[in-house]
Amino acid sequence: MFADYSTAELGAIFAMQGFAGLILFSVFVLMALGLAIIFGQMGVINMAHGEFMILGAYVTYIVSNIFSAYMPGLFGAYFFVAMFLAFIASGALGLLVEWAMIRHLYKRPLDTLLATWGLSLILQQIYRSVFGAREVGVSIPDWMMGSLPLTDLIEIPINGIFVMVLAVSISLAVYIMMFRSTWGRQVRAINQNRVMAGAVGINTEWTDRLTFGIGCGVAGVAGSAFTMIGSTGPTAGQLYIVDTFLVVVFGGAASLLGTIASAFSISQAQSIMEFFLSGSMAKVITLLVVVGILMIRPQGLFALKLRK
């Protein structure tokens, strides 16, 4: 397996693959955080998660066009504006969807699966009607493309670093909101015992709506970031949904730490196997291992103790 490579090359392999794994990890974390909030804390199976991400991507596309048309001098910085607006747009749509649809289904969690799947089809068709069936090209500022050459063999993609920094910042922000803010305390209280939380004066309806909105907003930011590495089209959200659920379920639905741990283990395993096997086989083996572990531990890697 290693016979074909020299020692220097082997070193480079491990360095670059390690880094490729870290990028994949960051991508998984970004994809899964929004869903972990919605699925983990509220129990809503949001099949339209990918479409909320793509809304963020389309917002980025619009913002990039506006900047290149009216403020070409500031084009290098448009991405930050785009991510912020993506959060607002996806979050606002999330609030609307929660109010119009999800709140009527809290007592029937399995029905949220069907309803949000229908929502994803509707959103896809809306994107198709508005932006056209074809993928749109989002131009990325020059400073975000390209790579940092460390040695002859090792080169680090700049957008990879950007995704990693973003993943860490958003995880921190979510952590602070979840464990250091009033809203976070209320969310956790509702998660543990909805009736009691209501009885002590927490506005459960509003907290639910806000939680769903924030989860969708985070998805929007992820979608905005993914314009750097993936495609932006009406159905591109579908590419992410399986991996996203895999990460959240494997980590233990109610645990944010579990989500991060599972993103890390799946991404590293997949990235290492992709190097030594073919791409499709790596995916097959990753899925088999995940299914195997979930059969032994259906609650996922990390599970909270709940009073049911």
Binding site: Y5, E9, A12, I13, M16, Q17, F19, A20, I23, L24, V27, Q125, R128, G132, A133, R134, E135, V136, G137, V138, S139, I140, M145, G146, S147, P149, L153, E155, P157, I158, N159, G160, F226, M228, I229, G230, S231, T232, G233, P234, T235, A236, Q238, L239, Y240, S271, E274, F275, S278, G279, S280, A282, K283
Partner: protein
């Protein structure tokens, strides 16, 4: 390939045919409004109960307007509608205006079969322009064979098929692959190849042909890696690392759909600039359509092997591009498959007029040998295996999303859907 004895239309003959075709084209341009329906009574041109009246004939359009494949199939629908409109402006087929029934395959293969049956059984269409993926074609094939329909299929595909009920207006695999590989070998001195593809039948069959050709027919060349990723895969960092270590002269990429966008963006981000040609990137899956999603700046400098590029400078194409933009908007781009879809209605018209009948059996017999000198890609001719003789071209991607044609085969390349020695 020509020195390997794979048959080509000889230069002399094709030039003669060109001249004849040119004359025919001027002929049709000056002929007032084509043929008269009165000379072809409906009872004579339609003996099998097709949807043909004294002044109209109905054909079907069957593509995905919704779902994942809508991205790709939209262009084909636009091209087919343009061709139908132009034929009608010239007086239609045998003096009859073409009307079309459009059905949506919805990117779902059983739906394609169902809609095909509806078009043939309920609408009695005289022909169908349709399908894009091989999966959808395979799904409708039994329907077309059972009800004796006639399908014009526009996509370049893996070959290994020859149905009496289908005319393949795109290239089969050898037409698209071999000339391009020979070109990078001769012009760029490429010796080592890394084959990469999405994991389904077309990339796998194409890479199989590419590998056989590299190993058996190209001296001193070898394949240093071959790899497939699931459809929709968006993370290519691992394979890019592998490519960096293997240092191939050529990355031969047959990645499709959303994966395509991810692959080229990550390739550029990882410091492999296609324009530096170290390694050189050669693809058969990126047309002008796909570049819109990838972004010209991410793919500039890569090479694609196709039979048609929007930038072709012949008169047919200049007129075609102008008409296409007039109908569908100035911003539109035209890819290889879109042009192949445009040929469908014209080939059908030519065959019907040669046969003097809309009956599928007579059209089929007349179709073989039909020449189309007015094709935007240049002169094409229908082979008896129902594929087209056409040229293969190599284009270099530009930052503005167009290709600059850097090579074209001197002669038409013979279609060979069951290539010997490549199985």
């Amino acid at each position: 390939m020509s020195d390997k004895g794979k048959t080509n239309v000889s230069q002399g003959m094709s030039r003669r045919a060109m001249l004849a075709g040119g004359a025919a084209l001027t002929g049709t341009l000056f002929m007032p409004k084509g043929l008269k329906a009165a000379d072809y009574p409906t009872s004579a041109v339609n003996t099998t109960g097709l949807a043909v009246t004294d002044d109209t004939v109905t054909c079907g359009i069957l593509h995905s307007i919704t779902g994942t494949m809508a991205i790709s199939e939209t262009g084909s629908v636009q091209a087919e509608k343009l061709a139908i409109e132009q034929i009608n402006a010239q007086g239609g087929i045998l003096g009859r205006k073409i009307e079309y029934v459009q059905e949506d395959g919805a990117s779902d293969w059983p739906t394609f079969a169902e809609k095909a049956k509806k078009l043939l059984v309920n609408d009695k269409v005289a022909s169908v322009m349709g399908c894009w993926t091989s999966a959808s074609r395979k799904a409708v094939l039994p329907v077309f064979e059972q009800y004796n329909g006639f399908l014009y299929y526009p996509t370049f595909y893996e070959g290994l098929e020859e149905s009496p009920n289908v005319i393949y207006t795109g290239q089969e695999a050898t037409q698209q692959i071999i000339a391009g590989l020979d070109w990078v070998n001769k012009e760029k001195g490429a010796k080592t190849f890394y084959l990469l593809g999405s994991d389904y039948i077309w990339p796998r069959t194409s890479n199989k042909i590419a590998r056989k050709h590299i190993e058996n027919f190209m001296d001193g060349c070898k394949v240093v890696g071959e790899e497939y990723y699931p459809l929709g895969h968006t993370q290519f960092n691992s394979v890019i690392n592998k490519i960096r270590l293997k240092k191939p002269d050529v990355i031969y990429a047959i990645v499709v759909g959303g994966s395509n966008v991810a692959f080229y963006k990550q390739l550029t981000a990882a410091g492999i600039d296609p324009a530096a040609e170290k390694p050189l990137v050669l693809t058969i899956s990126v047309t002008e359509d796909e570049i819109r999603g990838i972004g010209g700046e991410n793919i500039a400098g890569s090479y694609a092997c196709m039979k048609y590029f929007q930038s072709l400078q012949n008169e047919n194409n200049l007129e075609f591009v102008k008409a296409f933009k007039e109908m569908w908007g100035e911003d539109i781009v035209i890819g290889d498959v879109t042009q192949a879809a445009y040929l469908g209605p014209w080939l059908w018209k030519a065959a019907v007029e040669k046969a003097g009948s809309f009956d599928v059996d007579k059209v089929r017999a007349a179709q073989v040998g039909i020449e189309l000198p007015s094709a935007p890609e240049g002169y094409v001719k229908v082979h008896e295996n129902h594929h087209l003789w056409s040229k293969t071209r190599v284009g270099k991607a530009q930052a503005d999303g167009q290709y600059e044609v850097v090579f074209e085969t001197a002669d038409l390349v013979e279609p060979d859907p069951f290539p010997e020695g490549y199985q």
